[in-house]
Symmetry: C2
DNA sequence: GTCTCACATTACATCGATGTAATGTGTAGG
DNA sequence: CCTACACATTACATCGATGTAATGTGAGAC
């Protein structure tokens, strides 16, 4: 049987509340009793029961993290940052996968209400459907990435500007037939809309007419479907001069397809991605990408979340994370 | 304020216990009352408090998952499988990162005792130090991968046999100077020992003398350190005919280095990895690897864990997951 | 010597859900 | 008509930690 406050109290010859006082350090305890209690805790190998504590003071010390696809390297790197930052601050992280299913995103909110979670960091995919209903009765929510959502706090990278800058960078060595990969066919994800918008804005700056046939759709943002989409595209269309993939994962799939076709990168076509995942740095050739500080995303998200736990005051807060274009071998002229 | 059983009971005109009975379905409840209660729950938007439930019946419905490096694609894929299988069975997953720090592995056991976790799935790295002390007072633990640990259940792939088979496969087209990448310099990880052992066993079968200068050490199993280690190696040593990397992640780093040096794969050197991560399939060239069913690992681990929760009977149980060699472009002759 | 005030400590109730034992209600058998 | 028994339901206690209000203990002031 595990020891409880009662056991510790008995052994130290004090009341349970005194043991609690020693642990929480809010109510003052005299030095000698504190010592006796601490020794008793040591001897009994006491570990507080978090369920009981959670019940009593309405906090569990756990935050939820919900990502669309846990197998994606980008998700993994975000998860790592959040888990590490959370641990530094004494939080545990419960992880969930939404599978870009709006229904599941909703279900998570309910689970959060079940109160094993004091807050939720959610990376939503679908636009309006994921209109997470942040009511007063719900624990605080911080969203990651692009969403048009008016109520919850949000940490994001300016995808529009980043996509624009990347397109401009790709265009520099005189390339004009620039394709994008990752446009959605059906329901547009907010991220896809932003990045496509930035791409189009860059074309305008460059004085290049938008060409629908250069916008390659790919509903699932995985290397597999990117590789397949590009393969099918190349069967029908001529080779563009540059290819901007909306994520690094897709870019890896694209590189594989280009290699299979015997198309040289960057000589025949320049390729770029978005997210700066580790495997992109070691791709063949190493991948030009939009980079940003994932650790900063994590710490800002956690800051917003914990501040929001204190009081439910001020309206929606937005934190923008800086990005920068990192040119690597896949786009060098 | 969130509704409680009490509120639901009052609204349905029954006692709190009856509400509880309706939810748990063990004690029979007459159809009409059940209906009234269910309606009341609906109306009040009732969600049970998991902290309270956890306190009362000693179960939280949460399992812990501890991995050495969350950013690694392999970890991410394992995490995904486990989260998905766990959800299917109604479990939540709390995720932790050990950073291959044995101290942290120990700390996790304590956290588990704090009882927000009903069980722990742990992928340990260090050999003896991680001798997780599985006592009667601790929640059940299932280990993933190679460890010499006598007490906890374990799910694993036979790394020794797999490494041997992969070495033999690499040797087939007459290659004899086969190098391995991933040997540890200092404290050997159990996995490294197994895989190095399998490699050496294959050499014996092939009648090739073991050559220490073909065993490239790389303490951190990341693409970055693999790339660097191989770069330094090639500065001093002649090019081997084949390179067996102990993980796919390292192989990706190696491919990048080889490409930078202008060495062609597989023409100049064959390369293989281990784990069959998604990005390996889309590497340039696509990566030969040891593949195994990660979903099976997840469901077996969960099965062992939940069975162990019932009673603490039978001794250590081991579940072996089958592997197979998948030959892709990086090693085709 | 008594009164006050500060401060450490304690008894008790509480958070929400649920097991236990007891109560209430009905039906069948004698 | 009464007893017996199955079955649905209830009152109460409990899980472990902690806030509240009350109690106990001492030092210092008059």
């Amino acid at each position: 049987m595990r020891a409880t406050v009662k056991d510790v109290a008995r052994r130290a010859g004090v009341s349970p509340k005194t043991v609690s006082n020693v642990m929480n350090g809010i109510v003052p305890v005299s030095a000698p009793t504190r010592l006796r209690v601490e020794q008793a805790m040591e001897e009994l190998d006491y570990v507080p029961n978090l369920s009981a504590r959670g019940l009593r003071n309405g906090r569990s010390g756990v935050i939820g993290l919900a990502l669309p696809d846990l197998a994606t390297p980008f998700s993994a790197e975000i998860a790592q940052s959040i888990v590490e930052v959370a641990h530094e601050q004494g939080w545990s992280v419960q992880i969930e996968e939404t599978g870009s299913d709006p229904h599941r995103e909703q279900e998570l909110m309910t689970r959060a209400r079940a109160n094993l979670i004091d807050g939720l960091i959610l990376n939503p995919v679908v636009l309006k459907e994921s209109a997470v209903q942040v009511g007063v009765a719900l624990p605080p929510v911080v969203l990651l990435g692009e969403v048009t959502q008016q109520l919850a706090d949000r940490v994001f990278v300016d995808s529009f500007a980043a996509a624009r800058d990347m397109t401009l960078a790709l265009a520099k060595p005189g390339r004009r037939r620039i394709a994008v990969l990752g446009v959605n066919r059906g329901r547009q994800s907010a991220t896809a809309i932003q990045r496509a918008g930035g791409y189009e804005a860059a074309l305008q700056v460059l004085g290049i007419a938008k060409d629908e046939s250069l916008m390659i759709s790919c509903d699932s943002w995985t290397p597999a479907s990117a590789a397949e989409a590009l393969m099918e595209y190349l069967d029908v269309h001529p080779l563009p001069e540059a290819l901007f993939c909306f994520t690094d994962s897709m870019a890896l799939g694209a590189l594989n397809t280009l290699w299979k076709r015997g198309i040289r990168v960057p000589d025949d076509i320049a390729v770029a991605g978005f997210d700066d995942i580790i495997d992109g740095r070691f791709a063949v050739p190493s991948l030009t990408t939009v980079s940003f500080d994932k650790r900063a995303i994590a710490s800002e998200a956690l800051r917003l979340l914990t501040e929001r736990m204190g009081d439910r005051g001020h309206g929606q807060r937005l934190v923008e994370i800086k990005y920068r274009i990192v040119e690597r071998d896949s786009s060098r002229s």
